[in-house]
Assembly symmetry: C2
Homo-oligomer: 364 residues x 2
C-alpha cells in the first residue's frame, strides 16, 4: 500500500543506481499527439513497438497508454509487453516519469519531480503538461512503492546521469535554464540533487547536443558506461557547431574527479552526419500554437549517446548513417557482455528525442 513520504531519499538512506545496474523492468509511454509526431503518430508508434520489442527480450516492459489508443497499442505490441492505461500529454517517460531509488536493503522507492514540459511558460515545448506531471506518482502506485514529491523542484530524468556511487553529470544549459528553477542557485540545485538522488558530486558540463530542444539534456551527449568511464558525443568536424560544444565538455570531463576521487575515462562516440527534417516529415505534423513546430530543413539533435542500457543489452538508436557501424562497434567494445541491439530511430528523433528519452528503468 503505497505512501507519500515527507522525508527525503538521502535522509532515508536511498540512492539512485546507475542505469547499468540490474533492472526489474522498463516503462515507456505510447506516442500519439499529432502536433509532435507526424502522420498521426503512426510511424513513431511502429518505432516505439520496435524499441519495446527489443527491450522486452532482456527485461519486462510496461507501455503506458491513453485510453483512446489502448486498443491500437495492445494490438500492435507483443503480448509479453504489459499495456496499462495511464494518461499523458506526450511520450517522454524519461523526463516526466518517476526516478527510482533503492536502499542497501534492496527496497525500492520513487522520486516524483515537478515537470513543466522542458521550460514551462518560458520555453516549454507544449501546453498543458498536467497529465505528464502526474505520471511519476501513477508509476509509483503501479509499482506499489512509496514516493516523495519534490515540491518546488523542476527536473527531468534526461537531464541527469549517475554512476550509482555518488556522482552525477548534468549540463548548465539545462539545469541553470530560466524555465525550470530560476529561484535556485547552482548550490541550491546541487543540494536538491544530493537530497533526492543520494549523490555527493555533481559534474557540470556546459551545453548539450547542438539545437537540442530540451535545453541540452545530458542524456543526449554524455552517459556512464560504468563508474569512472563515460561516453561523450563527438565530431572532428570543426565547422560543425557540435565540435566546440563537445570539446568544451571533454575538457571538463578530463579535468574532473568523481565522488570517489577517480579521474574519468572518456570515449568519443561520433555523431551521425547532420540529419534534417524533410518536407514530408514537416508537413505531417499538425501546427498548434504553443507546440514547438517541426520546420523543413531544421537540423535534428541526433546522437548515439541516447541509448538505453538494459539488462545484458544496449538498445541503440541508429540512423542509416555510415557512423552507425562505428557506434555499434564502440558500444560492443566498452559494454562487453551486453548485446548491442540497433533500432532505426529516425521517427523518435523527429519527435525531439531518442531511445533513452522514451524509456525509464526500474532498478531491482
Amino acid at each position: 500500500m503505497p505512501k507519500r513520504l515527507n522525508t527525503t531519499p538521502r535522509g532515508d538512506g536511498y540512492r539512485m543506481p546507475g542505469e547499468f545496474e540490474p533492472h526489474r523492468g522498463c516503462y515507456l509511454i505510447w506516442p500519439q499527439r499529432p502536433d509532435n509526431w507526424r502522420d498521426g503518430g503512426k510511424p513513431a508508434q511502429h518505432t516505439f513497438v520496435k524499441v519495446a520489442e527489443a527491450i522486452s527480450r532482456f527485461e519486462p516492459v510496461t507501455m503506458l497508454v491513453n485510453e483512446d489508443q489502448y486498443d491500437n497499442a495492445r494490438g500492435l505490441l507483443p503480448a509479453r509487453v504489459r499495456v496499462l492505461e495511464c494518461s499523458s500529454n506526450d511520450s517522454w517517460v524519461r523526463d516526466c516519469g518517476a526516478t527510482f531509488v533503492v536502499n542497501d536493503a534492496g527496497d525500492l522507492r520513487a522520486v516524483d519531480w515537478e515537470f513543466n514540459a522542458w521550460g514551462g511558460l518560458v520555453d516549454g515545448l507544449y501546453f498543458p503538461w498536467d497529465k505528464d506531471d502526474q505520471i511519476a506518482r501513477k508509476m509509483s502506485e503501479l509499482e506499489d512503492v512509496d514516493s516523495w514529491r519534490a515540491d518546488g523542484f523542476v527536473l527531468e530524468g534526461g537531464s541527469i546521469h549517475v554512476d550509482g556511487e555518488g556522482t552525477l553529470i548534468t549540463t548548465e544549459e539545462c539545469l541553470l535554464s530560466p524555465g525550470r528553477n530560476p529561484g535556485l542557485s547552482r548550490a541550491d540545485i546541487e543540494a536538491k540533487l544530493g537530497e533526492y538522488l543520494g549523490v555527493e558530486k555533481v559534474i557540470w558540463l556546459k551545453n548539450g547536443i547542438y539545437l537540442d530542444e530540451t535545453n541540452g539534456h545530458v542524456d543526449n551527449i554524455c552517459n556512464f558506461v560504468r563508474p569512472g568511464e563515460v561516453l561523450l558525443a563527438w565530431t572532428d568536424d570543426e565547422s560543425d557547431p557540435q565540435h566546440a560544444i563537445s570539446a568544451e565538455n571533454l575538457a571538463i570531463l578530463e579535468a574532473a574527479r568523481d565522488a570517489r576521487g577517480r579521474k574519468l575515462t572518456v570515449h568519443k562516440l561520433y555523431t551521425p552526419a547532420p540529419i534534417l527534417i524533410s518536407q514530408a516529415e514537416s508537413e505531417g505534423v499538425d501546427a498548434v500554437d504553443g507546440t514547438l513546430p517541426r520546420v523543413e530543413g531544421d537540423r535534428l539533435a541526433a546522437s548515439y549517446v541516447n541509448f538505453y542500457t538494459a539488462n545484458d543489452a544496449i538498445v541503440l538508436p541508429v540512423f542509416d548513417d555510415p557512423h552507425d557501424a562505428d557506434a555499434i562497434a564502440l558500444l560492443e567494445s566498452v559494454f562487453e557482455g551486453r548485446e548491442v541491439v540497433p533500432v532505426f530511430a529516425r521517427e523518435i528523433l523527429l519527435g525531439g528525442g531518442n531511445v533513452h528519452c522514451i524509456t525509464q528503468q526500474v532498478p531491482v
Copy 2:
C-alpha cells in the same frame, strides 16, 4: 510478462478459491456515470471511499478510475489505497473484472469472461459496455499474470460463488437467461464452469432477490461461509414475494450435496424491510435512453448477503434498518475470528448492487 493462454484453467490445474481463502488484495472501480448514480455520482463516491477504507484496513485495495475522475478519486481516497487509471463504463468490478484462479503451486492467473452489461441487447442495463469488457485483461496485466479469454461465454463474477473445493452455486434465472448464452444448454454451461473454474458440482438455485436487475445474481441471495455452510437471504413475511423465492431456494439447498458429497448447513439471513427509491433519489439520476431508469417508489434489491469477505473481516452493507443488528450478530457468529465492519450502503443499492458487487478479490 503476462501472456494470453490458449489452454483452460482446469487443463492447467487451476481452480477458483473460495472468497474466504486468503487474499493478496482487492479491486474496486470508481463510480461516476450520472445516468446510474444520483447527483453526479457524488454520494456514491463517498460510499465507495468508505468501502475502500474499510477493506484496506485488512488487505491492499486498488481503485480503478477513469482519467477524468483521477484527481477527485485520488484526493478523496486515503494514500494507502492505490488509485490506478483504467477506463470503465460503470463500477461493478465483481461482474466485469477478472476472476482469479490458483494452482497447487500457488501460481495466480486470471479468467477474462465475456461481459455484456447483464444481458446485452436483450435486457442489458446500459450501452455500450466496451470498456468494461476490457477490464479483466487490464487487471491481469496490472497483476502481471497470464490470462485466459473465455471466448463465446458470457458470465459475471456476481452470478457465481464457489467453495474452493469443487462446488459452485448459481441461479437459473441468471445463467439460463436469454441475454447471456442463449446457444448454450444447461449442460454446456456446467461444462464451461468446470473448465474455467475447476469445479465439479453446480448447485442451481432458481431465482435471485426479488426485482434484482442482474437477472438474479447469486451473490445477492446466497453465499458460502465455508465449504458445506451457506447463508441464504430470508424473510418470514409470506406476503413478500421474496418469501417464496427464498423458500424454493432453501428446499434446493437442503436437498443438495456438494462436490465432496456433504450436505449443506443453511443459515437464514433476514432481509431488511422493503427499501423504495425516494423522489429526490430518482430525480438525481440523468434519464438516458438505453440505461435502466431509477423510478420513484421502485423497490430496491436490498440484501445483507451482498457482503465482501476480506482477510480477517466481513464488510457488510447495512441500511439503517432494525434487521441490521441481527445481520451483524449472525455474521459475527458464523464467521468467528473475522471482524464485521458495517457500511451504510444505501447509495450502492441505489445504483443496482451492493458491497460484493463493487469488489473483486485477488487470492494469494
